[in-house]
Amino acid sequence: MKNNYQSRVYIVAVIVIGLLLIFSIKSLSAATPKPLPYFQDITITGTITDKDGLPVPGATVSINDSNNGTLTNMEGNYELTAPAGATLVISYLGFKSREVAVDGQEEIDIQLEEDVQALGAVEINAGYYNTTDRERTGSISRVSGEDIEQQPVVGPLEALQGRMAGVEVEQPSGVRGVASSIRIRGRSSLRSGADQPLFIVDGVPINANSINSVGPFTNSSGMDPLSTLNLSNIASIEVLKDADATAIYGSRGANGVVLISTKKNKGDQTQVEAKIYTGFSKVSNRMDLMNTEEYLEVRRTAFENDGATPTESNAPDLVLWDQNRETDWQEELLGGTSPITDLNMVVSGGNEQTSFRLGGSYRNEGSVFPGTFEYNKATANLSLHHKSKDRKFVLDFTANYGYDNNELFYGNNFVERAIILPPNAPELYNEDGSLNWAGGSWDNPLQGLFRPQNIKTNNLISNLSVQYNILEGLQLKTSLGYSNLSSGENTRFLIDSYDPSTWDQVNLRSYHNNTQRNSWIIEPQLVYNKSLGNLNIDVLAGLTLQDNKNSFLTFEGTGYGDDSLVGNLRAADGVRINSDEKLHYRYAAIFGRLGFDWKKKYYLNITGRKDGSSRFGLNKRIANFGAIGAAWIFSEEAFIQENLPFLSFGKLRGSYGTTGSDQIPDYGFMDTYEATDGPGGLYPTKLYNPNFSWEINRKLEAALQLGFIEDRINLELNWYRNRSSNQLIGYPLPAITGFSSVQANLPATIENSGWEIALNSLNIKGDNFSWQTSLNFTVPRNKLVEFDNLELTSYRQTYRIGEPLDIALVYKYGGINPETGQYEIQDVNDDGRIDFSDQTGTAFLGRKFYGGIQNTINYKNFNLGFLFEYINQDRPSYLVEMFNSPGSYGNNSTQILNAWTQPGDNTNIQQLSQSIPSLLSYFDVLNTDLMITDASFLRLKTLSLSYKFPKDILQDLGIKALDLYLHGQNLFTATDYLGLDPQGGQVIPPLRTITSGIRITL
């Protein structure tokens, strides 16, 4: 909200500066002043409208060659006193400027033409200030609300996949509500999971770390704290990448900044907009597995090869179970269809001084799993804008509230079981409808359905920003933010999730998680703009005080007497607190920005911040960060315009600066004891190091922006190089130290460099037909540049100097031993044993290159858009996550049918066997280069088709706009990867979703 409020300030500032500039240029260039036919002043009134006849509020109407001017009001009206012979200049962001001679007229209405392709058209949120594509000196990517809204997903990050160069968004699985990860310009820390950028929603920094969860579907990634945002209410998401854009965030900016802005209302017309869509989701991929006949044959062969006898404990599939049953477990367990319904309603209105936007939404989803597990989300949002009559005082308020209730279940190895359950495993249900436990010979995979897991999250993010224009060009403003997230999870283990024969032993239990996050922020700022001839100056100085309190409580209740009581702690025999953590983080800073431009041609931007953070020990608490950015719009130069006329826009820019990373746990520098589970005891929970300090990230960037054919084609080419040093990590220690890691700064430097290309092309532009293509493409390179004495540290078997961080050190596969039929590993150093010193291969597991291509085609009232995402990468084979060797219990890929039988066989599957030595050689081979497979994929991420009813038809019905649309998500994936998902491995792949909807505006 602050951002938006600032945006207005900046519009005003830009306009004022623009006016001054225009006048000064004019006065300089006017060698021969025009004779003025009339000198007397007259009062002129009129309305400024767009091509649809809608009023344009806030447009600048100024008098050429003078300092006078005004802005249009909410109805687009203006009033101005000017000499009868003057010329009016009307300008507004996103429209082409017009000049109109007064010629003594007292009423002048003007229609402005939209400047669709103009680089100055779209305002870009840079956090503390706003800019445009034309003027920015930093690297900022933007995804508009329209593109986000088109995607029927739950979390905002999911909607960014494939849309931005240099931004890697990964969805860990298709289970709704789990946290996606986002990584901006590569991994810059030796710690894994330390890539989290700073998230700011409407000016309020949000703790976007995932919310802890206990369930098998959710515990590895955690829950997404942003899932409570209403995607339809997001105006834009900007990602700040380089030093110029991020240094103003100081110690929090090293991993980039994600700015989420919600929609605001600036008009004064009362308007109601309703949107509803409904559809369904399904799991988008299956594996090709053996059928019963093939599977049992494999198993029998394994026992024959071993000379072993199947027994009920080592082979229930052969001894106890029906040899003719055939079940497609993927269909049974993951084959469901999940319905989706999403409703959205917004009312906006206001008058000249005050406007508001009030909205709400509701979403309901089912589940692709068996059973009825729903997802419900409700949101409400309000934005309020007020300014005093003299326009000196401006107040903005936004509040976004969201609630979601996610029903899942504690499905242990649920996805894994869908793959590895023998196809002849027993029926799921008995005839009476109860779960079938087949005499204890298996764990019924549906047992998890009777362990319901429920996660409820409430999230409020609000911001109040007040601004006062002290003098012309000088404003004082203060932004006050508050956010509160509370999330509660409970998981109940009910009696039906156990084999009835064990019921007398069962201890009914429940697990509970409680997460509370409270933060407030105060940011008073002073903004000053001044024009001195051709030089424009923007100054910003501010102070940040931020306070975050996080608490996390987990506990379990045990010994419930009956199903109906499970979860009610009063009915529990015992309650055990598993963790009770309270974290307090405080942050204070002074920051500033100095922006200069000369003739709107040369730009210089200097930003800096002095930071203090409670995460560091006393001596290391304060640090300085800063950056300098510059841009030259060379297409404004006469020699370029003469020699390269096809170039409509050309800009060179670059930046260099430092940012820090404090993405480490609170209290890390303190030596603390905590309470043991048992009564009366204290124990040390970690090692400590009082001297650790910031990680420093130095970012360098150079970029070229070009526009061709009146900016119909825009190309941006970026090169960046970020070097992150003084690595702050949980340094892994051998267990003999008592713990597995300690927080420490290491003399290591990591370099991320790369090329980013963004291309925007309006291929065809006609009255009835247009076709636009946006493409982004990134070639990242990640390298461990230096690491003193790596060989002597615990990282010696994790990293290699000169290699990327995301590598696996692997054995060299040595084929299949012709005598034993088992896998062989090459003993590279010939020391007679196979250990990590033989892991000499390095396999890169990160993205080699990636990109997205979006096409938008308009034909009359139809609009078709589709986005493809492409990622080129390797990842470990699905086998690495399966753990069943060829011939052991459990279904497998049909590849197993090609197992080794005799010397000379050309195969990479060892002899079928169920023995331990064979399993061990299988474990070894999982760490070889053989298991690194191509996991590149091309995915049709989003497809949308919409139809806009013609206005003339609607007008008679009193409807302003009516659209029908069809959206599809993850419709199709092309990949050579054999597992369930090339991105997540053996997890539920992102769901394939198809929805259709209607949007109506009254």
Binding site: R576, G678, L687
Partner: protein, 461 residues
């Protein structure tokens, strides 16, 4: 103009707060700075109590399937796995993968306990805030726990790094110390503990180390070092404390604070939801075959009238198979009223230690007397103390067999006995198809070798 004034006021207020002061945060109530832990008797005592509590949780000592009790019994010939859990099967078949996570668990949890003991010792050293008597007592306890843990490390892994401080920088590069260095430290710690600790149990609970606990472990350690006389002396001290210890009927031995117990770990340390032993929860088969069972070979080693067969061993049958399970602990359900503690050391072992020490010193008659104490409790005929035909080797063999039957599934003693007596190779090579003589030591976990360039791997891995 009034807004303007408000802003100036707000700005002035905020600037007043210096940044540094603002970012100072207080310690939350869920943790204590270690300096304050060792600033009062009460919290220092809590830090030591914390180690005992953590022993119930620590992987190697918990009694669960990841503990020494189970894994070493699998490595020897007492237990077999009844599930296809690879981590267990690798121990049973003596084919331990270097990245076996249970193996890493033993190693790292043991060193975690050692860290805690070292932290207590450092916190208490020359600390005048703690009353001298308590300081002596707590120091003695920490030393005892450290010695106990090293005893297991040196027996399971052979040469291991001897870590005696909390300096992680130094410790992270430690090399392996010789077994004799480890044993020297163990003896030094135990002797100091025996000297500093009193003879009573606090509140009648046999949960915290006292002088007898230290001496009982000394007796065992001297057996390993073949210092027969010292082993005899220390076990005698314990045995003769008859006001504290006595042999009980089988069904009473494993009860909480039983008079046979020298040291127990209370399941209460697991927190409110855990009120009975993990051994009971793991071993007892009520409706299914669990995850481990006693081997047939072990069951066959009993004489048919041995009361332990009935008292300490259970039978579970399915349609076509039957399984024997250790039934020393009778309570399986974790939430039943607390009645048993997990046994770490008890008097019966001290008799068998002394029997062995006697036999080694050729005091055969005394050896047989001690052995008979245990045999007779199990309704077995006494060995004739005057049997002229019996020789030292035969007696030692009888003792080894008796130890197997008496101390099975207690803290891996069978595995340690086989190795100590040099019988491991002879006994196990016929029972285990993949047995190699280098299997007497577990592998140093691969993860450790990765992280510490100065560590070396054991032979055979």
């Amino acid at each position: 103009m009034k807004y303007y004034k408000i802003f100036i006021l707000a700005l002035a207020c905020t600037l007043q707060l210096s940044c540094e002061d603002f970012v100072e945060v207080e310690i939350p109530d869920d943790r204590i700075i270690s300096e304050s832990v060792f600033s009062s008797d009460e919290t220092a005592n809590s830090a030591v109590k914390g180690i005992y509590n953590e022993l119930y949780q620590a992987t190697f000592s918990s009694g669960f399937q990841t503990s020494v009790t189970v894994l070493s019994a699998l490595s020897a010939d007492n237990l077999k796995a009844t599930v296809t859990t690879t981590n267990l099967l690798e121990f049973e078949e003596n084919e331990i993968f270097i990245s076996n996570s249970y193996n890493l668990g033993i190693w790292s949890s043991a060193y975690n306990i050692i860290y805690m003991a070292n932290a207590v010792l450092e916190g208490l050293r020359d600390n005048s805030n703690i009353s001298p008597e308590l300081n002596e007592k707590l120091t003695g306890e920490a030393r005892f726990i450290r010695a106990f843990t090293y005893y297991y490390l040196v027996n399971l892994y052979g040469e291991v790094p001897l870590v005696l401080s909390t300096d992680y920088d130094d410790n992270s590069r430690k090399t392996r110390n010789s077994s004799s260095e480890i044993y020297n430290q163990i003896i030094q710690d135990l002797e100091i503990a025996a000297e500093q600790l009193g003879s009573t149990y606090e509140n009648g609970e046999r949960l915290r180390a006292n002088r007898f606990t230290a001496m009982a472990l000394l007796a065992r350690v001297y057996l390993h070092l073949e210092e027969w006389e010292l082993a005899e002396d220390y076990s005698t001290e314990v045995i003769e404390a008859s006001q504290t210890f006595e042999l009980l009927a089988h069904e009473e031995v494993f009860l909480a604070n039983s008079r046979e117990a020298i040291w127990q770990i209370s399941p209460r340390e697991g927190g409110a939801s855990q009120t009975n032993t993990r051994e009971g929860a793991l071993f007892i088969m009520l409706n299914n075959r669990g995850s481990v069972a006693l081997t047939e070979d072990f069951i066959e080693s009993f004489e048919s009238n041995d009361t332990r067969l009935e008292q300490w061993i259970g039978l579970f049958t399915t349609e076509n198979e039957s399984y024997y399970f250790p039934y020393k602990y009778k309570v399986k359900n974790a939430t039943d009223e607390i009645s048993e503690y997990s046994m770490v050391m008890r008097l019966a072992e001290q008799y068998l230690i002394r029997a062995e020490a006697h036999a080694r010193q050729d005091k055969l008659m005394e050896a047989i007397e001690d052995l008979n104490k245990i045999r007779q409790r199990s309704n077995l005929s006494a060995q004739n103390t005057n049997d002229p035909g019996i020789n030292q080797d035969e007696i030692l063999n009888l003792i080894l067999e008796e130890r197997r039957k008496e101390l099975f599934t207690e803290w891996g003693l069978r595995w340690l006995d086989l190795k100590r007596s040099g019988e491991a190779d002879a006994v196990l090579s016929s029972k285990k198809p993949f047995w190699e003589d280098t299997d007497v030591f577990y592998p140093i976990p691969e993860d450790e070798l990765r992280k510490n360039p100065n560590l070396t791997q054991n032979e055979g891995y």
